[in-house]
Symmetry: C2
């Protein structure tokens, strides 16, 4: 993505920022004009905590070391910042279609023109109804690296996305609320009593995932058993936690079998979920690779930034 730095339209060093602004947090990356990472910033003020005019305040605060130079700082942002309850609504792109359309980016309203914020829309599918905001950026980043990718992209998270891609386009996608199920069950259900205590049990995870991948009913009638086992046989929190996770992820991967079987699948993510999904997929016979989410996000946002700079000159 590195290009000759244009020193007229940007700050002398051409510094710019990429942002993935989700429901619960903001991830900011500050990059040089040749896309070297200068700073990585995390902030807990996600979309849910902000009114529409709160976003600019947060950005100015976190980017203050790079503002006030007399030059305009460009920010390219994806995620829930473009939702109806975000900074400014960037209407969804339709599926099937390309995940990025330069004509459909939206400029966010700012109070001073030393900041220039462009927001990427998400994608919506009519039938069956589905939406994504932020994942399309990671998908686009992978497709930019692998233009002939014909397969499935899985993006594990609170609402895991399964995205069928071909010829640089998103053909269709599906969403499983697995991450949210886990948080609700582990934090708010009767199962929370079985999870009091730290630790993890790889074998318990793998066994549970295998069970549930074979039959998703294991999630329907197997979850209460985590509590009952804990009561009757003193199953450890580590085993209980791993079993809960394994049942949920296994059931999801089993349910999605028609999508990933006989097709390359890439798991894009960061943190602990990615290797868990990849392991279960591999165990179930998938041809699976993993890709770092940050790399994919930045590849896409840098490409958009470069295109915007080209259009500006």
């Amino acid at each position: 993505m590195a290009e000759d730095c244009d020193t007229t339209a940007d700050t002398p060093a051409g510094v710019w920022a990429a942002a993935d602004w989700g429901t619960s947090n903001l991830r900011l990356w500050v990059l040089s004009c040749d896309d070297r990472l200068l700073a990585r910033i995390g902030d807990p003020r996600g979309m849910l905590t902000l009114s529409s005019n709160g976003f600019e305040t947060v950005l100015r605060e976190r980017l203050s070391p790079w503002l006030g130079t007399g030059q305009r700082l460009a920010v390219v942002a994806c995620g829930m910042v473009g939702a109806r309850q975000g900074w400014i609504e960037a209407p969804y792109l339709p599926t099937p279609g390309r995940p990025i359309e330069m004509a459909r980016l939206r400029r966010a309203p700012v109070s001073r023109d030393d900041l220039d914020v462009t927001i990427l829309p998400g994608m919506a599918q009519a039938e069956p109804a589905d939406v994504m905001r932020g994942e399309e950026t990671q998908v686009a980043g992978h497709l930019a690296a692998e233009p002939h990718f014909d397969g499935l992209i899985c993006l594990p998270g609170t609402h895991t996305k399964w995205v069928r891609c071909r010829n640089g386009r998103v053909e269709r996608f599906r969403t499983c609320m697995t991450g949210e199920f886990y948080a609700l069950l582990a934090g708010h259900s009767v199962l929370r009593h079985a999870l009091e205590g730290a630790g993890w049990d790889d074998q318990a995870f793998a066994d549970a995932a295998r069970e549930a991948a074979r039959h998703c009913g294991a999630v329907i009638d197997g979850l209460f058993g985590i509590r009952a086992s804990s009561l009757l046989t003193g199953t450890s929190a580590a085993q209980s936690r791993a079993r809960l996770s394994g049942l949920l992820i296994g059931a999801e991967i089993g349910t999605m079998r028609d999508e990933w079987q006989d097709r390359p699948i890439v798991v894009i993510g960061s943190g602990r979920l990615t290797p868990l999904y990849a392991r279960v997929l591999a165990d179930q016979g998938a041809a699976v690779a993993t890709v770092d989410a940050e790399a994919a996000t930045l590849r896409c946002l840098a490409a958009v930034h470069a295109q915007l700079r080209t259009e500006a000159t």
Copy 2:
């Protein structure tokens, strides 16, 4: 259950009380010595809200009109009052086995002998691990009315029980957390936004239940669509609520098919869940009947009370 009233050991009218003391509430019935219902009392102080010596206080308060007559008031109780965190632990009966064993009832400690409280234990299953407290009483009440019942009893609730019965015994049982899933998803997940507003849609419920009974994966990848539909097409809260309920109950009933297929099934409950389960079961081809939970509970507790009175004379 009515027997000649013994006026020496009880209050002059032989009044006694039956109690179903759950996690979140207490249901009390005051009955005459010939088991006519004199009063029905509901109280929100469930087991979770009480320390072990709080139970007696609540009972004395709600039964005060019938105390202080100089005679002993017998109370026969089932439910979480006999759990480890209850009034006094009534250790589980094993499965397979009879749901009631007179030798395994526990007397609760009371401060004055004008009150006599007997607690019924629940049942525990070793493999796969499972527990119930309170449902065994409804099961026993049904088996007392139908001693030759050879089939399945479904008790819908927060943790729905599916109990295989034969020859007056519980052979085995399974638990599905469907009610708790619904409460968590409807109240705490992203789906709550789609349920803002009252109403119900029978057709949406029936369609969703049929879909999920056919393939439980509809619960794995179909739930987020309730939110997406609401966002994209303005699906009503009534439709969304009914679809959520239908997907969950349908997936449960489909998962339990091996249990109820080709076997009589009785749904014991009160409130709105019972007809919903019965309707889906019937739609799926089950030979289903419904039984009122209160009637089953009282039939069992009255039989226990009668046996206790016999043993006391």
